[in-house]
């Protein structure tokens, strides 16, 4: 979707503000929200692309106003309500509905180190033919899907060079909507800064963007 989350190249966002000796979490609730998101993801009810999409659909004005972990809180509630794990009434009251059966947590404390160490790669070791080869010129498709996509607006229609082939990965556009993994090659595509931004950019600089096969066409 052409959402406000797709920020590459936008103006008007101000200067970068750095904080010295920044804590990992600025208050206790931020850490709890982070951990609740991770612990609930262990149920496997949704995937990383659905997680991202649930943040992207936060209305633009709210997206810009909310802090990072406030967005994570909103996203978690939406995903759980949609999956039926909780109801809105339960979230508002903070109490489980009468008569609901108690589950056993998907992630117990003892398993946390192993779960972190294992991670959850979206690379798929399956034989899928690559449509493009390293060294080839490609054009990022000019398309504007209304759902989730990882094709940023600022490269659409632009020509770049396939710098490397990363292998085969789950395709976010379908995975976010649980329409299948559609595994395909992901390439690092090198776009000259001037191809993206015109004469104002340095003639030496480049932006490398990781793009799936379905986002590209021969140039």
């Amino acid at each position: 979707m052409n959402g406000v989350h797709d920020m590459g190249g936008m103006h008007g966002m101000g200067a970068v503000q750095c904080e010295t000796d920044e804590p990992v979490f600025h208050s206790e609730w931020e850490g709890r929200v982070f951990a609740l998101n991770q612990a609930m993801s262990a149920w496997g009810t949704w995937n990383i692309d659905a997680r991202r999409y649930a943040i992207e659909v936060i209305p633009a004005a709210d997206y810009l106003r909310m802090s990072y972990y406030e967005k994570w809180f909103t996203r978690l509630v939406e995903l759980m309500v949609r999956s039926g794990q909780v109801s809105r009434l339960e979230v508002e009251s903070g109490r489980a509905a009468v008569g609901c059966t108690r589950a056993t947590p998907a992630l117990m404390a003892a398993a946390v180190p192993a779960v972190i160490a294992r991670g959850s790669s979206t690379e798929r070791k399956v034989a899928v033919a690559a449509s493009f080869r390293v060294g080839q010129m490609v054009r990022a498709r000019n398309m504007h899907p209304v759902g989730h996509t990882r094709l940023p607006r600022y490269v659409r229609g632009k020509v770049g060079l396939v710098d490397r082939d990363h292998g085969v990965f789950v395709f976010p556009d379908t995975n976010a909507e649980f329409r299948g993994e559609k595994p395909q090659h992901v390439y690092s595509v090198r776009f000259a800064a001037r191809e993206l931004w015109g004469e104002q950019a340095s003639p030496r600089d480049a932006v490398y963007v990781d793009l799936w096969d379905d986002y590209l066409e021969p140039a």
Binding site: L36, Y68, V91, G119
Partner: protein
Amino acid sequence: MDNHEHQAVPSDLTLRVKALESLLVEKGLVDPAALDALIDAYEHKIGPRNGARVVARAWTDGAYKERLLADANAAIAELGFGGSQGENMVVVENGPQVHNLVVCTLCSCYPWPLLGLPPVWYKSAPYRSRAVIDPRGVLREFGLELADDVEVRVWDSTAELRYLVLPERPSGTEGLSEEQLAALVTRDSMVGVAVVTV
């Protein structure tokens, strides 16, 4: 201050998050001790010191550096790192004529196993919007002025690859041990918004 009487009224979010946690615990959906373990891991165990060890090893062991640039996952695993949000790592090397900078314009992708959770500025609209269109301007705000003949390569983490910058080893560090070198390596230098100095 921990004194109860002087505590500010808990924010709305504090209350909402507490209510949500108690609901999920009541329903048996989360183990509160697992939440504690997750927070402890990212507050105390996983952070930029991990990445600094990888960099220092690459600076002192040429064969390791080659492996790191060719197959980052395997080389990083040699030091015992890897996992969540670093399942597919790529390391990009700075040099006298090349400076690398990492961003995620679409969200906040960041190599957690090596750098920990990202700082607020990395996730912020100003950095995400400007790093790709005005990398030199952003670097200037971080106090880094690059010569015109240096090529800036910006890596936008749009897929599941996670990027770590291998900064240049500063001159004057020839006599330092791997451990002493690691102590010089900052988080910002591994994102590419700074260089390592002595």
